[in-house]
Subunit: 395 residues, 2 copies
């Protein structure tokens, strides 16, 4: 896949791994049977489906029975919020979360949107301060999709556990759950829900070189959920509809590969990121602001800003050189709105207007990252020159 | 695909057409970009996605802007009911509808479940009698998934239109919409929503040789819907989540093929069905009850019963001969419950226990249908013999 050497938008989409596609192929045609049908070939398809769910669960140390397959991360997030929406409880979410989480929170009876620090980190203290006696759900993404900031989930889980203990001691019976969208981070850092201290976790196949519109919600058996889509009773009645066998088999393969190479990929991507940052620092010196935190950040992510430069023009000029980056999350970018994440960490309009998100992945190398930083510097210089001449022209 | 010669369960699942798979392939790897990203290759993917939606719309004479892509028919049905669920109106659905429709109706403030006639037909008079001033939605499937009975949608649409006129004349402003799940029937009979007289229509790629977990809801622009899944704002805000580009491209190809060959396939399947029925009549004479109506039925469907014979044993014995049929819809079959459709048309327990659903499709021929009927007769004779010897043994 030569043409994606300078694709630096892996947080928006990843190409399907060829081993994943190979694993999926039989379930499109030969093994197309409805997994709910009773005859032998269909039962084989059912087994393959259940085995894929078991593989998914094993990849993060969970039980297959606690997984609900969904059509992507957005539906998984929506499902995670159904318990509290039904009970009219209160939810706590960071204001810099993905729109899927913000939209789900807005559908609850009451919600608190907590602020992040300037590096996009959510402090456990901020979570503690936002929790009320009627809070039933806290949802904090494993890593922020724009900045790459890894959140202190374990510390937040301790805050939540302390509140549970308090409720127990006071005879209060309202449940309190902790959900994380781990879509960004899977394949680079630990996604073991018990180690993270969460009760629910969202994963997305489309972010780990698996198929699009395939995701899952893992939920501890204590969590009460309500189906968004009811009918035939699939997924323990929590998500009806004929199962996406090919997609689930593909997701299982993709997640297994992602987790198996997690440590190596973390190290490798850290070098790739460093190559980009060094070259950018050398060529653009003080002009570029790195918004992603130096520590506690995914190695895949660099959010940066060159204030005074129009990022949309930079994106367009880079595109002419077959280099593809983002100005924010893909959904927001499409709508032409300013990033709520960057506004949320207190950036001014000029800095937001000059911001780019560069995200590395499996086909990125130190070489391509360096080349990317060089092209970025060239384009920025060209833009600065153009602005200078326009100013002279205007005088 | 030699091994599916005697697969007679096309209503449960269809194999992906190889032309459909070929159309999907580029969007798994080379053209994997997020359609919401702003750079050229992603914009090309966006164009392909929009073109696929336009092709889908064209296949049934609608506008692409009125289509919402969903993960299969069940979600599409659930979405069709969101408008009325939000407003607390009343809904009217036949009691023999698919579980997806029944479950959606049960989530409404109030619902009437109307009875079918002994052939599974819903009379416009029954719909008229069930409509109340607060009714906001009537949902009747184009064809029943177990019996194949084609419903008189146009006549039901006239009943609904008459009620709309009455409301208009009385200054009542409550809307009344007509939804159909056309999953069974597409590729055999007309699915043009304006000709059918419906305001909303559900279609399922998995029933027309397209991918599983891909469906759509077509809704006239007057219909107010509410998203089940909110977030990034895709599908006009009615269904968020990164688009299933490969799946949508595949669905478009599959539906185009299905509609293009609709008339020929109707005629061909009618001959296939006749071959089965004649052979079965010859070999099983009066013992077999044909439950599907002789007229006004999909040519793909035969629901039959051999009272006194255990259909589950028949299914098992046929399976040994690589012949695959169903004892009811796949979802119900899996749960080991009796068909609510057959109970709904007034069948007694013995007849239900002896019932089979045989559904033909693209790989069925007059030859294979004859062979199927012969195998069925053999197995039934074997079972009758076995029961006779057990009776003798018991005496």
């Amino acid at each position: 896949m030569q043409e994606i050497d300078l694709y630096f938008d892996y947080a928006a989409a990843t190409p399907l791994d060829e081993r994943v596609l190979a694993a999926m192929q039989p379930y499109f045609r030969e093994l197309f049977f409805n997994p709910s049908s009773p005859y032998r070939p269909a039962v084989q398809v059912r087994s393959a489906y259940e085995e894929a769910k078991a593989d998914l669960a094993r990849a993060f140390g969970a039980r297959a029975g606690d997984i609900i397959m969904t059509a992507g991360a957005t539906e998984s997030v929506a499902l995670a919020f159904t318990g509290v929406q039904h009970s009219s409880g209160h939810v706590v979410v960071p204001e810099i979360e993905h729109h899927a989480v913000l939209a789900a929170a807005q559908r609850c009876a009451s919600a608190s949107f907590i602020a992040a620090d300037p590096q996009g980190r959510i402090s456990p203290q901020a979570v503690a301060a936002a929790i009320r006696p009627e809070t039933e759900l806290v949802s904090v993404g494993l890593a922020n999709s724009e900045l790459g900031t890894v959140q202190p989930l374990k510390e937040i889980a301790e805050v939540i556990e302390a509140e549970r203990v308090r409720r127990c001691e006071h005879g209060e019976r309202r449940p309190l759950y902790f959900h994380t969208d781990a879509s960004q981070g899977a394949g680079q850092i630990d996604i073991h829900p018990q180690r993270l201290g969460v009760d629910m976790m969202t994963l997305n196949a489309g972010k780990v070189y698996g198929p699009k519109q395939v995701g899952l919600l893992w939920a501890a058996s204590s969590v009460a959920l309500r189906p968004l889509v009811a009918g035939g009773g699939q997924e323990r009645g929590l998500r009806s509809g004929t199962e996406n066998v090919a997609g689930t088999v593909g997701f299982a393969k993709a997640l297994q590969l992602a987790v198996a190479h997690q440590r190596g990929e973390f190290t490798r991507l850290s070098r790739v990121k460093q190559a980009f940052l060094s070259t950018a620092a050398e060529l653009l010196a003080d002009e570029v602001m790195i918004l992603s935190p130096r520590k506690g950040c995914l190695p895949s992510h660099i959010s940066l800003s060159i204030p005074g430069v129009d990022a949309e023009r930079v994106l367009f000029l880079l595109e002419m050189k077959q280099m593809y980056v983002s100005t924010g999350s893909a959904c927001a970018a499409n709508k032409g709105t300013r990033s709520h994440v960057l506004a949320g960490i207190g950036l001014d309009d000029a800095a937001i207007a000059g911001s780019l998100r560069i995200t590395f992945g499996r086909y990125s190398t130190e070489e391509t990252a360096k080349r990317g930083a060089q092209l970025l510097a060239e384009v920025v210089r060209h833009e600065q020159q153009r602005q200078k001449s326009r100013k002279w022209g205007a005088q």
